[in-house]
């Protein structure tokens, strides 16, 4: 490629003409019951530390995925709504630009990645993130023997001073890609990659897949008229789309 073309590429907003894959997730709030299975699945898959009561009380817990709760109305006409909140893998991520050491960037798959090795812990990304899905290692956490034996060898354990967050289980994506390569396939098949949270969801509220593939389940879900993005006005272009909870009108049935 000529230098002129390279330069033109470099000057293009968003840089990527096209992602190799564009991993996306939909979360159907009409199915979500807030059961928190996904939270533990994430903790198990990604070696999230057990921080202990003291650290938890200081709000130093590390959760890549959390359930938010919102009450609507007053007793007795009251509703509780859940909102699973994880890294939205924004295509225009507010968290990526401010990192002085480029420890977080957007990769070819449309993922917002965090490179622990590189992070020096300015925590700017977390401040800039409107979804507050980034967790910081305020301490080096350890596992009481023999709990460390459950650690996932595909995922690193992070040391103190490092920011971390949801990766859409990039290690699973990697495994699926390697498998596709072994099988002489050019692309990963729909459904071959499921992040831990999606895998565990008892109500099948979460759907994950490649939104570039028009036939994938997630692409179909993305067309759902109930779809919305949290804090859409911020124009962060999240890869996670929520499907609005269906509210019955009035109390009568139908």
């Amino acid at each position: 490629m000529s230098t002129a073309n390279t330069l033109r590429d470099y000057l293009k907003p968003g840089y990527y003409d096209e992602f190799d894959y564009h991993w996306a997730m939909t979360i159907d709030l009409d199915r979500c019951t807030g059961c928190s299975a996904c939270v533990v699945a994430c903790q198990a898959e990604n070696n999230l530390p057990i921080v202990g009561e003291k650290r938890f009380s200081e709000r130093r817990e590390i959760k890549w995925l959390r359930i938010e709760r919102y009450w609507q109305g007053e007793y007795p006409d009251i509703k509780l709504r859940f909102l699973p909140m994880l890294c939205q893998h924004c295509d225009q991520a507010p968290c990526e630009t401010p990192c002085p050491v480029a420890a977080t960037y957007h990769n070819q798959d449309g993922l917002n990645t965090q490179i622990y090795n590189r992070c020096i812990g300015t925590r700017t990304c977390a401040v800039y993130c409107p979804y507050e899905v980034r967790s910081f290692n305020w301490f080096t956490y350890t596992w009481d023997e023999p709990l460390e034996q459950q650690l996932n060898p595909d995922v690193t354990v992070r040391e103190k001073g490092v920011m971390e967050k949801c990766t859409f289980c990039i290690q699973r994506i990697r495994i699926a890609k390697d498998k596709a390569k072994d099988d002489d396939r050019r692309r990963v098949r729909d459904g071959e990659v499921t992040p831990a949270c999606v895998q565990s969801c008892p109500t099948e509220a979460m759907v994950f897949g490649d939104s570039k593939d028009p036939d994938s389940k997630v692409s179909q879900m993305l067309n759902n008229p109930r779809g919305f993005k949290v804090l859409e006005d911020l124009n962060t272009l999240p890869s996670v789309v929520y499907l609005q909870k269906v509210e019955e009108q009035g109390h009568g049935h139908g």
Binding site: Y10, L11, P13, Y105, H106
Partner: protein, 170 residues
């Protein structure tokens, strides 16, 4: 065979007068020292309304502006790490870098310019009397074979110098 004659003055006016007179008498190798900057004396010393330092400043500033932008683009292209949906070569932030680098290199080059133009640091042995850095103004005339040391001494004396000294050779 050169020799240095020093005239030490108490008053600024005498000092400048004497320097002017020496100059008109054909003594070119004058060193005028004062505890404070004096515009009149600078004029006598033949220093104009500007200084070559500015060239250094300009060069530094321009180099900084270019260099800053180049540095930013260079490091952005070593590894392509697109962030926040912005392009790889991003103008607004890189201009800030260019701006800061303009100033940084501008300052550094000005410093360089100062050293080059003023000839400092100069730790060699030079004619100098400590009083000139307190409250005396001094003129050092370098006289060689062709010029007349006595005449210079006279001009200094008549000009009101407190003291005229022969400093010998440097």
């Amino acid at each position: 065979m050169a020799s240095n004659i020093l005239g030490l003055f108490r008053y600024e006016e005498d000092f400048i007068d004497a320097a002017e007179r020496l100059k008109s008498a054909g003594y070119d190798e004058l060193t005028l020292m004062s505890p404070i900057p004096l515009h009149d004396a600078e004029k006598v010393a033949g220093l104009g309304k500007s200084s070559p330092v500015r060239r250094f400043s300009l060069a530094g500033a321009l180099l900084g502006a270019f260099g800053g932008f180049a540095l930013a683009t260079f490091s952005a292209t070593v590894f392509l790490l697109p962030t926040g949906g912005r392009s790889i070569i991003t103008f607004p932030p890189f201009l800030v870098i260019a701006y800061e680098m303009t100033i940084l290199l501008g300052v550094l080059f000005t410093l360089l310019g100062f050293h080059v133009v003023s000839g400092l640091p100069a730790w060699r042995d030079v004619p100098y009397v400590e009083d000139t850095n307190v409250d005396r103004f001094s003129v050092v005339v370098e006289v060689d074979e062709k010029s007349d040391p006595e005449a210079a001494r006279r001009i200094l004396d008549e000009g009101g110098a407190d003291e005229v000294r022969d400093l010998g050779e440097y």
